[in-house]
C-alpha cells in the first residue's frame, strides 16, 4: 500500500498551488475590468508573445546581464571578503566605509550608473554587480573571521599554508556563510536586473513588460510578470541544487551536532 503515502505527498505539494490557480481562474473569468483580465486570456497570449524571437531579444540579454553581473559580484565579493576577513586591522579600517556603502539601497545607483555608463549593457551590469557584491562580501568576511581556531592551529602545525590553506581551509570553512550571501545576492540580482530595464533600456524582460504596459497590452503584461516569476523560481531551484552539492558535508555535520546528547 505504498501508493497512499506518495499520493499524499503529491497532494500536499500540489494542493494549495492548484487551489490558488483555480481560484484566480474562476474569480477572473468573467472580468470585464481592463486591468484585470481573465487568467484564461493571459495564458492564451503566451504562445504569440513569448516566441523564440522575443526570447532572443529580451530574455537572453536579461539573463546574460544577470549572469555577468552576478559572477563579477561573486568573484569580487569572495576575494575581497577573504582578504578583509583575514586581517583584523584591515577589517577595522574598512568597516565603517563598507557599512555605509552597503546601506545605500542599490536601486539608487541606477541613475548614477546611467550617468556614468549610459543606457547600454555596461551600466546594467554595473548596477547588478554593485548591488550583489555586498551580501557576498559581507558574508564572506563573517565566514572567514569565524574559522575554527583549532583547525587553524592544525594547519599551522602541519605547515599547511598559502593557497592550499586558503582554498582547502579558509574558503571551505566559510562556504556555508558564503553560500548564504550568494543566495541573498541572487534574489537581489534578479530585482536589480528588472529595475535596470524598466526605464532607459532597449531590451530585456523588464523593458518588454514596460512596453506592454505602455502599449495597453495588459494580458501580455501579466504574462511577462508570470515569466519573471518562473525565472525566479527556476534560478532558486538551480541554486538549491548547487547548494546541496557544495554543502552536503555541512548538513551532515549540523545534523550530527544536533542529535549529539
Amino acid at each position: 500500500m505504498s501508493v497512499v503515502p506518495v499520493l499524499r505527498r503529491v497532494g500536499l505539494f500540489l494542493g494549495l498551488p492548484v487551489v490558488l490557480v483555480l481560484t484566480w481562474w474562476f474569480a477572473s473569468a468573467d472580468s470585464v475590468q481592463f486591468y484585470q483580465p481573465p487568467l484564461s486570456k493571459i495564458l492564451a497570449v503566451f504562445p504569440s508573445t513569448w516566441t523564440w524571437q522575443r526570447f532572443d531579444h529580451d530574455v537572453v540579454p536579461s539573463l546574460t546581464r544577470l549572469a555577468i553581473g552576478y559572477t563579477i559580484a561573486l568573484g569580487l565579493g569572495i576575494s575581497l571578503g577573504a582578504l578583509i576577513g583575514s586581517y583584523r586591522s584591515l577589517r577595522a579600517l574598512l568597516e565603517p566605509v563598507l557599512e555605509f556603502l552597503r546601506a545605500i539601497p542599490p536601486p539608487v545607483l541606477v541613475p548614477i550608473f546611467l550617468l556614468i555608463a549610459g543606457i547600454e549593457n555596461t551600466s546594467k551590469i554595473l548596477v547588478i554587480a554593485s548591488g550583489c557584491v555586498w551580501p557576498v562580501l559581507l558574508n564572506t568576511v563573517e565566514g572567514v573571521r569565524a574559522v575554527d581556531e583549532v583547525l587553524g592551529d592544525t594547519c599551522r602545525s602541519y605547515r599547511i599554508g598559502g593557497t592550499r590553506r586558503l582554498f582547502t581551509f579558509v574558503l571551505r570553512s566559510a562556504s556555508p556563510q558564503i553560500m548564504a550571501g550568494a543566495r541573498q545576492a541572487l534574489s537581489l540580482g534578479l530585482i536589480l536586473m528588472v529595475i535596470s530595464e524598466l526605464k532607459a533600456a532597449h531590451d530585456g524582460i523588464g523593458f518588454a513588460i514596460t512596453e506592454f504596459k505602455d502599449g495597453f497590452q495588459i494580458p501580455e503584461m501579466y504574462s511577462g510578470v508570470l515569466v519573471l516569476g518562473a525565472i525566479g523560481v527556476t534560478l532558486a531551484l538551480l541554486f538549491w541544487l548547487v547548494e546541496r552539492r557544495v554543502l552536503g558535508w555541512y548538513r551532515g555535520a549540523r545534523a550530527a551536532e544536533r542529535s549529539a546528547p
Binding site: 592551529d153 599551522r156 602541519y158 605547515r159 581551509f169
Partner: protein, 259 residues
C-alpha cells in the same frame, strides 16, 4: 632531540600580566616517551604550544633536532585535545589523513601507502571514506592520530588527547599510542592531567608546579616496557609512583593556594 631551555611565557590578559611559565628547562632524548603532568592551569598546554612552535616564548629557547624553533618545525606533529574541531568536516577520513602529506609534496603513490598504513595502525581501515562527523569521539581522535602518523614525524606532541573521551575508549587509545610509539620510535611528549595515565604511558614523568610554573620533578618510571591495562596498573611499583606524583601535585596546588 628536544631541548627546552629556560622557557618563560608571559601573557597580557585584560591588562594584567599572567606568567604562565616561569622557567622550564628539560631535555627529551630521541625516541623517548615523556609525560607532562601538573595542576590545572599550570600551563601544560602553553608549554606544548611553545615546543610545537605555535607560540613564541617570552624568553628562553626550544630546540628540535638541534635547530631553534620559531615556527612549527617540519618534523613535528601535534594531536590536539579537541579532535572534533581538528578534523576538516568537509573532507573524508582518508582525505583528512592525506592533507598534510599533500602540503608536504609527497608523491601520490607514497601518500596512498602512508595513509593506508596509518589507518591500519589505528584500526580504521574500514572507515576511510566516512565523514568525520559520522564517527564517534574515540574514532575521530584515532583519525587525528593516524594523520599525525602518516606525516612520519620525528617528534609527536599530544595535548591531553584523551581528556574528552570516555574511560573505556581512553584505555584503548592509551594502548594504541604506546604500541604506535614502540613501532615507530618517535619522540613523544604527552601532556595530561590524568596522573595514572601519565605513569602508565611514560618512560619519564615531568611534574610541573602551579603558576609561576617550573619543573618540580623529573621522574624515571620504573615499569617494564611491556605494559597492559590490567597487570601494570595493579603492579605495586605503579601504585607507589603514582602516589608519589599525586602527592607532588597536591603539594604544588597547596603552595599555589597559599601564594
Amino acid at each position: 632531540m628536544l631541548d627546552i631551555r629556560a622557557v618563560r611565557k608571559v601573557y597580557d590578559s585584560h591588562g594584567r600580566q599572567v606568567e604562565a611559565l616561569a622557567d622550564i628547562t628539560l631535555s627529551v632524548a630521541d625516541g623517548e616517551f615523556v609525560c607532562v603532568v601538573g595542576p590545572s592551569g599550570c600551563g601544560k598546554t602553553t608549554l606544548l604550544r611553545c615546543i610545537g612552535g605555535l607560540l613564541p616564548p617570552t624568553s628562553g629557547e626550544v630546540y628540535v633536532s638541534g635547530r631553534r624553533v620559531s615556527a612549527p618545525p617540519d618534523e613535528l606533529a601535534i594531536v590536539f585535545q579537541e579532535y572534533g574541531r581538528s578534523l576538516f568536516p568537509w573532507l573524508r577520513v582518508d582525505q583528512n589523513v592525506e592533507l598534510p602529506l599533500k602540503a608536504k609534496g609527497t608523491p601520490r603513490r607514497q601518500r596512498t601507502r602512508l595513509v593506508d598504513e596509518a589507518l591500519e595502525a589505528v584500526g580504521l581501515t574500514g572507515a576511510r571514506t566516512a565523514w568525520p562527523w559520522q564517527l564517534s569521539g574515540g574514532m575521530q581522535q584515532r583519525v587525528a592520530i593516524a594523520r599525525a602518523l602518516a606525516y612520519e614525524p620525528k617528534v609527536l606532541l599530544m595535548d591531553e588527547p584523551f581528556a574528552a573521551v570516555d574511560a573505556q575508549t581512553r584505555a584503548d587509545l592509551e594502548d594504541l599510542v604506546r604500541s604506535v610509539w614502540r613501532q615507530l620510535g618517535v619522540t613523544l611528549v604527552f601532556v595530561t592531567h590524568d596522573i595514572d595515565e601519565a605513569v602508565y604511558l611514560g618512560q619519564r614523568v615531568i611534574v610541573l608546579s602551579a603558576s609561576p610554573t617550573v619543573v618540580v620533578e623529573d621522574i624515571a618510571v620504573d615499569l617494564p616496557d611491556a605494559r597492559d591495562q590490567l597487570n601494570t596498573r595493579a603492579d605495586p611499583r605503579f601504585v607507589t609512583q603514582r602516589t608519589h606524583v599525586y602527592s607532588l601535585i597536591q603539594k604544588a596546588k597547596r603552595t599555589a593556594a597559599l601564594a
